[in-house]
């Protein structure tokens, strides 16, 4: 019994020290967060820095940061003849809408940000919108692509990337026209997760609009194995297989198809294939995969912060270690929208609540040319406050590089169709 008591008291001692260490570790950060002195514009970034959407979350963060670095390198945003730098604050939504709302409230109340840059996922974006409304803080979203984001007509939220229903559907029409001999039948694999499913539904609805025939629509759970679905589709022999999914599933679709020795004439995916990690992971097997983008480094647009799309791409490549895709570009362009609106507003930091409402109105009036393309927000309709200007471009991975293949006026290379059998 004596030894039992001794071990208990030792445990108590260790427990006490563990608590003390934890408390010390937690106390430390309060020292770190001393406020910077010079007046700056403060922007909050809410995105998925952990959890299942971590890849896209980091792409959005990188995009927003590219703008902040570029504008700060120029001395900051120019307002009434004076330049103010931009301070970025981050909140991880842990790929979870509720945490996204926590992050928004924290950035607005604790960090006193003037404006927010929106989350990667549409779910988080929808959960954050009421918080923006409550505090009257504008939020510019460089990524959220679900049409649901704009349904409730969010007064303070603006979207740079056209909602996916306007792009994935159209792309099949482009594909049908670009392919020779023209594709006729389509099977759609849609991963049952937010965004992926909406992309898949966009493809499904686009089939009819493009005058094609839908032979299968398969909704698969993200944790499921893909062999049964691919075998089933292989037996139906469609010309085109369209996939709505995120990068991990897209990689698995290609690997599983190859391991079953099945290759459709065209394999089209929406988001993710332009991410360098996709071609890197699959190597030569990535060749021939078709994608849909709303921006490419080869487009001819430009602006005075980033220069041409090509210059933007070179700068981003140097910083990120790979070519930027349209998410990073859309997020960087979100910064351009903010910079332009601040300039027109002409108010110095920190913005008052009235200034922020005026900033929202200024953003709504945006009509600018950027390296990303023209940006102008819808004033009504199902895509309220979304920028639906960009047109979808069909791209294909050829020799490990992403090249534009359609429509004709944007094409930089011939579309490889039908794809050869796996070697």
């Amino acid at each position: 019994m004596a030894s039992f008591n001794r071990s208990f008291s030792r445990r108590r001692f260790l427990g006490g020290s563990a608590l003390a260490v934890t408390a010390g570790a937690l106390g430390m950060p309060f020292v770190r967060t001393a406020r910077a002195q010079a007046a700056t514009f403060k922007a909050g970034v809410i995105t998925s820095l952990s959890g299942e959407n971590i890849l896209g979350g980091n792409l959005t963060k990188q995009g927003y940061d590219l703008w902040a670095e570029a504008i700060n390198a120029k001395g900051g945003v120019e307002v009434a003849g004076e330049k103010f730098k931009v301070d970025m604050f981050y909140g991880d939504d842990q790929s979870n809408p509720a945490t996204g709302a926590d992050a928004a409230e924290r950035l607005i109340v604790q960090n006193e940000v003037d404006v927010l840059f929106g989350p990667y996922t549409s779910g988080s974006t929808i959960a954050v919108q009421p918080i923006c409304q409550k505090y009257q803080v504008p939020m510019i979203s460089g990524s959220a692509e679900s049409p649901n984001v704009w349904k409730a007509k969010p007064e303070f939220n603006f979207g740079i990337i056209p909602s996916v229903d306007t792009t994935s559907g159209l792309s099949l029409g482009v594909l049908a026209k670009t392919s020779n001999p023209g594709a006729k039948t389509v099977a759609v694999i849609s991963v049952n997760e937010p965004f992926s499913k909406e992309t898949g539904e966009g493809f499904r609805d686009g089939v009819k609009a493009a005058g094609l025939e839908l032979v299968a629509y398969e909704l698969v759970p993200p944790e499921g194995d893909l062999t049964p679905v691919i075998s089933k589709i292989a037996a139906l022999k469609p010309d085109v297989v369209a996939v709505g999914g995120h990068e991990e599933i897209l990689i698995n679709v290609v690997k599983t198809s190859k391991s079953l020795n099945y290759r459709p004439k065209a394999l089209i995916m929406h988001y993710g294939i332009t991410n360098p990690a996709f071609a890197q992971a699959l190597g030569a097997d990535a060749d021939g995969v078709t994608g849909v983008v709303v921006w490419l480094p080869t487009v001819t647009y430009k602006d005075d912060v980033f220069g041409t799309a090509k210059e933007f791409s070179e700068m981003a490549t140097k910083k990120l270690g790979g070519e930027p895709d349209y998410t990073a570009a859309g997020c960087a362009a979100s910064g351009l929208v903010l910079g332009d609106a601040l300039k027109r507003l002409g108010k110095k930091p920190a913005l008052t609540p009235e200034d922020r409402v005026a900033l929202k109105d200024a953003i709504a009036e945006t009509d600018i040319q950027t390296f990303y393309g023209p940006i102008k927000f819808e004033k009504d309709g199902p895509h309220y406050h979304d920028n639906v200007q960009p047109v979808p471009v069909l791209v294909q991975i050829q020799g490990g590089k992403v090249v534009a293949v359609g429509p004709k006026e944007a094409a930089a290379a011939d579309y490889i169709y039908p794809l050869p059998a796996w070697k």
Partner: protein, 290 residues
């Protein structure tokens, strides 16, 4: 008919794939009485080792398999005694504390991997990646066959080890009754460390194969944990033979529901099956230990 055969094969091979990371999990439960949340973490670690062996050294992914066993087996051997101490501590619910410990380890691994290796999805390439064999109307993906062979080899190897060696006898005795085993001179603490090391090594080897069949990023671990738990319970916790049967059963159900009912119902069917089997046969399908 062709699709039927293909679906059957697909299902059996999914089962083989699931079995690779559940067999050793069962052994660990049998001996340590710990439900290891970190099983998915070991799988992901193995996958990353496979990726780095192929991407940095330019070697075939299969080279990473023995490497994974040595490296993560050693790591598991170090963690084993800690787990044993917690499992056998004088707290109100040591089995829960052990579960919480493995949950903490899993979270620590996940956060560490995200920080160190980033968030991109990685791929393990090997000589069998993407290769297939046509047998009549059925396409046989060779990499999955390799996984199934691996599962059979692990199960067979464990069986021989457990039933044909003195040390195996000690393990079985411990699984059956640790107090009697201890009285017979088995050093349970050291044996537990060995078993946990063996399990971590085997699971990481399976992880290399998972990276080659699917792909790997730090967030996929929970998926493997989920399947390992479910297969283990369906089989009867601690039952190595049952794990193989249960994994095959789940694989075949997933494939057939996917093909003939609708893919969106495949996991619904799996989890519902598990639920019903548990109610009908509360100790798993085989109702016996090791």
């Amino acid at each position: 008919m062709d699709l039927f055969l293909q679906t059957l094969l697909n299902g059996l091979l999914i089962g083989g794939v699931i079995a690779t990371f559940t067999i050793a999990f069962q052994l660990t439960f049998g001996v340590l009485h710990v439900i290891d949340f970190a099983v998915g973490g070991w799988v992901v670690l193995g996958g990353y080792l496979g990726y780095y062996v192929t991407a940095l050294l330019g070697l075939d992914g299969f080279v990473a398999i023995p490497l994974a066993f040595v490296l993560f087996g050693a790591l598991g051997y170090l963690i084993g005694p800690v787990l044993y101490n917690v499992r056998n501590s004088r707290t109100a619910r040591p089995e829960l504390m052990a579960l919480a410990l493995t949950f903490g380890l899993f979270t620590l691994l996940r956060g560490g991997m995200l920080t160190a290796w980033g968030f991109n999805t990685r791929n393990v390439t090997s000589m069998l990646s993407g290769e297939s064999l046509a047998v009549g109307p059925v396409i046989v993906p060779l990499i999955r066959v390799a996984a199934a062979v691996f599962a059979v080899a692990i199960a067979g190897g464990l069986f021989l080890f457990l039933y044909r060696t003195r040390y195996g006898l000690a393990i079985r005795a411990t699984a059956e009754n640790r107090h009697n085993a201890a009285l017979m001179g088995v050093n349970i603490r050291r044996l537990s460390a060995n078993v946990y090391g063996l399990y971590a090594g085997i699971t990481a080897m399976a992880g290399v194969l998972m990276g080659a069949i699917y792909s790997v990023n730090p967030e996929v671990g929970l998926r493997y944990t989920l399947f390992a738990f479910f297969v283990a319970v369906l089989a009867g916790l601690g039952s190595v033979g049952g794990a193989v049967v249960a994994a095959l059963m789940l694989g075949v159900i997933e494939a057939f529901v996917s093909t003939y009912v609708g893919s969106s119902y495949s996991l619904l069917a799996i989890f519902a099956t598990l639920f019903v089997v548990l109610l009908a046969s509360p100790k798993g399908i085989l109702r016996r230990g090791l």
